[in-house]
Every structure is written in structure tokens, then in C-alpha cells.
């Protein structure tokens, strides 16, 4: 693998020198040796797709991502909508301040008026005045297993979403397009559930200690060995919570004097872990290899800020699939850069493990690369395995070090036994070691569902972000009122969706995020797609300005087309 990588690097170098026009000069001037730096080319103004891979020799299959640009009139109207809502927000705040209307937000008591203020009113302006008005789209209570279909508790509000009441009724069989259930392991029947039941009878539900003290069960050891075998690494370690895996382990690995290069759109847990570690953080543009290479070169050439000493470690932090964009990391190029500039790579496969790749082994499997190239492979069990928790995999020395020095290993309660058993059973199913073809069937079903869903949405004329193979499908809504309207209209048609707005996304790019699952049958997807199309017409969401292939004109004969 290293040989082929080197040869690719050499080929890349040679190609670049000839394309840049910089010939080897005889008098020893410094040549431009960068791998991926390109001269500025004219880009088609339609797409924000400036990350076209120029090194397609590193990719075995075509890497197609699209982030269609926001139409100008949509952006203008979105800003106008936010402006109007801001004015009304000020009006309502004024009324609340002068007690003309009842204030539901936390306020200080009259006796504390002269103290230092406890609640900073303006920070919650957005929450009070926009989020509260459409709050019924989030935190919907679920009362069944979140599989392909789910039951929701019906609730009503009498004071415009400040308080909710349960009517006592249940909305049954809502098609679930929001749960991270990529391989359909969120189920209460089947091999996983039975095995978890057996284990609960043996060990109980709680552990009552941390891993360091008395909480290390044999089931944890078995699970960690299985995870290591699944990923193809020497050793792995599991934690009780995925968020805590990132935020507690990055501080154990990095410290002052180290450099973290993190992607623009990394998850909050990675950002929190990076900040807690105390190292210098530099951000590169999302999935942009030229930006990353520039940062690496600057870091190596200039060193630490004032002293210019070399950095102790450089860590590149990327995710496998970015859940808000649906984009997949350009792993071959990142690994080529990492080897060239001798940095370390931390890959967070929260959404991609189990969901990508022909064998379900994640984004490394998807690109056909060697898992030994990634120094720290992190992932979660929440999404594809139907359990909870996270893991870190890598070399044996790394994992042994983490066992002693990670906060999460030493102080957090260890994983509950039925959850660990769920992981073991589901992983064995995916690997095919349980003797059935269930794992392979589910993987195939997921990729078929993904392709079908994305293709149909694209044909309908919606703006969809992300890579063609990613099961996370963001559909752009843009306007603030459409966020609330979309969620409510979809629920009326018995489909549960997740809508996202600011601050999880940029202010004008609010979206609805669909998570395709292997548990969805073709009929369910068709029902969902019909409803999405209907709501898209009702709300006028079909913004895409791409050229579509001409549809079959069965409904309109050729003769009528050519008549006057």
C-alpha cells in the first residue's frame, strides 16, 4: 500500500510540475512542490463545487458531490423574512419588558433587581422569538421503538408552544425519516433483542462502577476485541457515550504546543474536545484539500506562533460523513497529505461506520484503503448498530495509553451489559459471522435505498446537498417560516422528519434532513417521496435550477406539443 501511495505521489508531482508550467530550474530556486495546489480556474457560477478532485487517480470510483448554490431571490427573501421576524421579536420583548404581556421566560425576582444580572436577555433573543414559535417540530415524544415506523405521542399547545399538553392519544405508524437507523437494527424483535434480553437476565441493567474500578465485565472485553477485528486495527476501546468519546479523548492525546487542523463543519464534540485540550486549533475549509495543504505547509514552515519551534504533533480531525451536509470526506487525499507532511489523522466515523462500504466497515472500506493508515479511528454505536456509545481504534500502544489517561475511561460509568450485547450481536450480523446473510442483505438494501431516494428527490427538483452515496440527505428549505411549515405538513401526512435551522446551520441555509434506512421498504420510500413532493408543491420548495433529463412525455402526446 505504501508503495502504491508513493508512486501515486510521484506521479502527482510530475503531473503537477508539467501542468503548473514550473520547470526544474538549474540555479536552485525553490520549486512549488505542493500536491494539490491548483492555479485559479474559472468556475461555473452555478455550483459551489470548487472541490473537484484533480487527483482522480487516487479514487477508484467517481466521487460526485453537489452543493447547488442558493438562488439569489431566495436568499434575499430569506433575509427579508428574518428581518420581519426580528422586528416582531423586538416588539414582543418590549411588551414583555413593560409587563403588557405575560412573560414565560426566566426572569429575576424583584428583590434581585439591583444585583448583577443573572440572565442575559439578549442572548436568547433568537430562542425566545423564533425557536419558541415553531418548537412543536422538535422534542416530539416517541412511544415505540424508533424503527422504520414509529408511534408519536400527540400533544397540543394552547399558548403558542410555551407549554404542551398530552391529549392521551398516540399517532401510530409514522414513517420515520429522522432516526439514525441506517441498517435497521433499532428493533425490539430478532436476534439482537433476544441476546440483549439474555444478557440482562445474567448481568442486570446497570454496572455500578467505572471501567477502572469494578466495571470491566468480560462482555466489554469481548466487545472490544470484536470491534478491533471489525475495523481491522490492532486494538480498540469502547466508551459509554459517543459525545464523551470525542470530548474526553482528544484532551488526553493533545496538549499545549500541539496543533489541531479541524474541518470547518466538524461536530460540536470534536470542537469541544479540541478546545479542552488547550492546543492551537486551525480550521480549514470544508473538505477542501488545497486549504488543508496550505495550513500544513504553513505550520511546518513557520512552527509555533512566537517562538517558531516545531509543533509537537499535528493532528488532522475529519469526519467520515458530515451529517448536516451529507458529504463524505476525501479520505485518499487526506491520507496522501498526512503521509507527505507527517501528520496524524483522527477520523470520526459516527455516521459512516456500518453505512458505507461494500462490507459496512465505513469510509475506509468505501475508498478501498488500508485502515492502518488512519492513526485514530473513532466511531459511535448509536447510528448503525442500534446501541449507544463510542469507540476508538488504533495501535495497541495508543489504546493502552488511552486506557490509563482518558477521562472517560477513568471516571465515566462503563457501558450497560444489554447495550454491549446489542453491539456484539449486530456487529456479528454485519460481518456475517452469525451464519445468515442478513448483514449483507441490509447493506445492499441501504445502498439501493440511498441511490433511489436521492435520485427521485433530485428528479423532483429539490436542492439536495451531499455525496451521491451518503444515506444522510439534506433538503434545502431556506426560509424561516418554511421550517415550521414543512415539519407540520409532513406530520399531517404521517411522516416524521427532522428540520434544522440556525444555529446548527448557517442562517439562510435551513434544511430538512432525511436519514435513509435499510429498514425502509420501497413502498415506504414511495409513500414518503409522494408526500415530500406534495409538500414541496404546496410550499414551493423545488428551487433547483439544474437541467433535468426530459421526462417521458406519456401524459402529453407529441402532436399536441408541436401544435399552436
Amino acid at each position: 500500500m505504501t508503495e502504491s501511495a508513493t508512486s501515486k505521489l510521484l506521479n502527482g508531482d510530475i503531473c503537477h510540475r508539467t501542468s503548473n508550467g514550473k520547470k526544474a530550474s538549474k540555479n536552485g530556486f525553490v520549486k512549488d512542490h505542493s500536491l494539490f495546489e491548483q492555479p485559479q480556474k474559472y468556475r461555473r457560477p452555478r455550483d459551489k463545487n470548487q472541490n473537484v478532485p484533480h487527483n482522480s487517480s487516487l479514487y477508484k470510483k467517481p466521487f460526485v458531490e453537489s452543493f447547488e448554490e442558493t438562488p439569489l431571490w431566495v436568499a434575499v427573501l430569506t433575509y427579508m423574512g428574518y428581518g420581519i421576524l426580528t422586528i416582531f421579536g423586538y416588539l414582543r420583548d418590549f411588551l414583555r419588558h413593560w409587563n403588557i404581556e405575560k412573560c414565560h421566560v426566566a426572569r429575576e425576582r424583584d428583590e434581585q433587581k439591583d444585583f448583577v444580572p443573572l440572565y442575559q436577555d439578549f442572548e436568547n433573543f433568537y430562542t425566545r422569538n423564533l425557536y419558541m414559535r415553531i418548537r412543536d417540530n422538535w422534542n416530539r415524544p416517541i412511544c415505540s421503538v424508533p424503527g422504520a415506523k414509529v408511534d408519536l405521542v400527540e400533544r397540543v399547545t394552547r399558548d403558542y408552544n410555551w407549554t404542551f399538553e398530552h391529549t392521551g392519544k398516540v399517532v401510530k405508524d409514522v414513517i420515520n425519516m429522522g432516526s439514525y437507523n441506517y441498517l435497521g437494527f433499532a428493533e425490539n424483535t430478532g436476534a439482537c433483542a433476544d441476546a440483549a434480553l439474555e444478557v440482562t437476565k445474567m448481568y442486570g441493567a446497570g454496572v455500578g462502577s467505572t471501567r477502572c474500578e469494578m466495571g470491566n465485565l468480560d462482555i466489554h472485553e469481548e466487545m472490544e476485541q470484536l470491534v478491533a477485528r471489525f475495523l481491522g486495527v490492532e486494538s480498540a476501546m469502547a466508551f459509554g457515550m459517543g459525545f464523551a468519546t470525542n470530548s474526553m479523548n482528544i484532551p488526553a492525546l493533545m496538549g499545549k504546543g500541539c496543533l489541531i487542523l479541524s474541518d470547518e463543519l466538524n461536530h460540536t464534540s470534536l470542537v469541544l474536545g479540541a478546545r479542552l485540550s488547550g492546543s492551537t486549533i486551525r480550521v480549514f475549509k470544508h473538505n477542501n484539500m488545497q486549504s488543508l495543504e496550505k495550513l500544513l505547509r504553513d505550520a511546518i514552515v513557520h512552527g509555533q506562533p512566537r517562538t517558531h519551534r516545531p509543533w509537537k504533533k499535528i493532528l488532522i480531525v475529519v469526519e467520515g460523513i458530515y451529517s448536516m451536509e451529507g458529504s463524505i470526506v476525501r479520505l485518499p487525499e487526506v491520507i496522501a497529505l498526512k503521509k507527505r507532511y507527517k501528520a496524524y489523522l483522527y477520523l470520526d466515523e459516527a455516521h459512516s461506520i456500518g453505512a458505507l462500504g461494500p462490507n459496512g466497515r465505513g469510509v475506509v472500506d468505501y475508498f478501498g484503503l488500508d485502515s492502518k493508515d488512519v492513526d485514530i479511528m473513532m466511531g459511535t454505536f448509536t447510528k448503525s448498530f442500534g446501541a449507544a456509545g463510542g469507540y476508538i481504534g488504533g495501535k495497541k500502544e495508543l489504546i493502552d495509553y488511552l486506557r490509563r489517561h482518558s477521562h472517560s475511561a477513568m471516571y465515566a460509568t462503563s457501558m450497560s451489559p444489554p447495550v454491549a450485547q446489542q453491539i456484539i450481536t449486530s456487529m456479528k450480523i454485519i460481518m456475517g459471522e452469525d451464519g445468515t446473510t442478513l448483514g449483507a442483505d441490509r447493506l445492499r438494501q441501504l445502498s439501493q435505498n440511498t441511490t433511489y431516494f436521492r435520485r427521485r428527490l433530485h428528479e423532483m427538483g429539490f436542492i439536495i446537498y451531499g455525496n451521491e452515496d451518503s444515506p444522510v440527505v439534506p433538503l434545502m428549505l431556506y426560509m424561516p417560516a418554511k421550517i415550521g411549515a414543512f415539519g407540520r405538513e409532513m406530520l399531517k401526512r404521517n411522516i416524521g422528519t427532522v428540520v434544522v435551522g440556525f444555529p446548527a446551520t448557517p442562517i439562510i441555509e435551513s434544511r430538512a434532513r432525511f436519514c435513509v434506512s435499510a429498514a425502509h421498504t420501497r413502498e415506504m420510500l414511495d409513500t414518503a417521496l409522494e408526500a415530500i413532493s406534495e409538500v414541496g408543491d404546496l410550499l414551493q420548495l423545488k428551487y433547483s435550477r439544474r437541467e433535468q433529463p426530459l421526462p417521458s412525455l406519456g401524459w402529453m402526446s407529441e402532436e399536441s406539443l408541436l401544435q399552436d
Binding site: 427573501l77 416582531f88 404546496l538 433535468q548 426530459l550 421526462p551
Partner: protein, 128 residues
Amino acid sequence: MAGTEVRPSQRLPPCLLCKDCFLFLCVNKHRPMHRSSRTLHLRDLRARMNFKNLREYLAWLYYQYLLITGIYVLEPWEKSIFNSILFSAIAMVVYTSYVFVPIHVRLALEFFLGIFGGQLESTMALMT
């Protein structure tokens, strides 16, 4: 799909589908259509909702206005305030234009006719 390709050189009658669609959906109004714009139009037509009567259509237009301005999320009394302010602003614009536009147009016409009329007179004087 052989019969369905439309070559750009083939002149189509202007917006042959206009009589079927509402004006606001008509993206390319009266130009000969190239393939890309025709597919857009076809998709708009396919995407068209079925309105049984004018009332339903007007209700849908009002819904679009609520969504685009963001008023949809507000409480009813806030909606009324915004609608009344907007309506009175538009009414004032209409009234002002009704009163003043004819006067301004007449003055402008007199001004320009004065210039060109004077030019014509002076050239006539030179020629004779």
C-alpha cells in the same frame, strides 16, 4: 427517447403551454424555448397544484405570502398588525400614483416636446 429531443434551431411557438398554466408559473414567457427552459416549464407544469376554484387558488397565494414574509409563525394579532400596515402602505402608494402620475407625465411630455419642438423650429428657420 428519440422523439423527445428538441433541437435549439427548431422554432417552437411562443410558450405553447401558457394557456394551461397560471401566469406566475410561466418562467419563460414568450420566447422560443430551448431544451433546458422547456424542461423547467414542464416540471413546473407537472408540479402544478390542482385548484378547484378561484377561492382555493387565492387561499394558496395568501399562504405563499405568509410563508415568504415569515408571518406564518406569528400569532394572529401580530399577523393582523403586519397586514394592516402593509395594506395601508400599498394603499397610500396607489393613491399617490393615481393623483400625481398623470400630472408628472404631462409635465414631462411638455418639457421634452418643448426641447425638440424648439430644435425643429430652429432648423426650419435655418433652412428657409
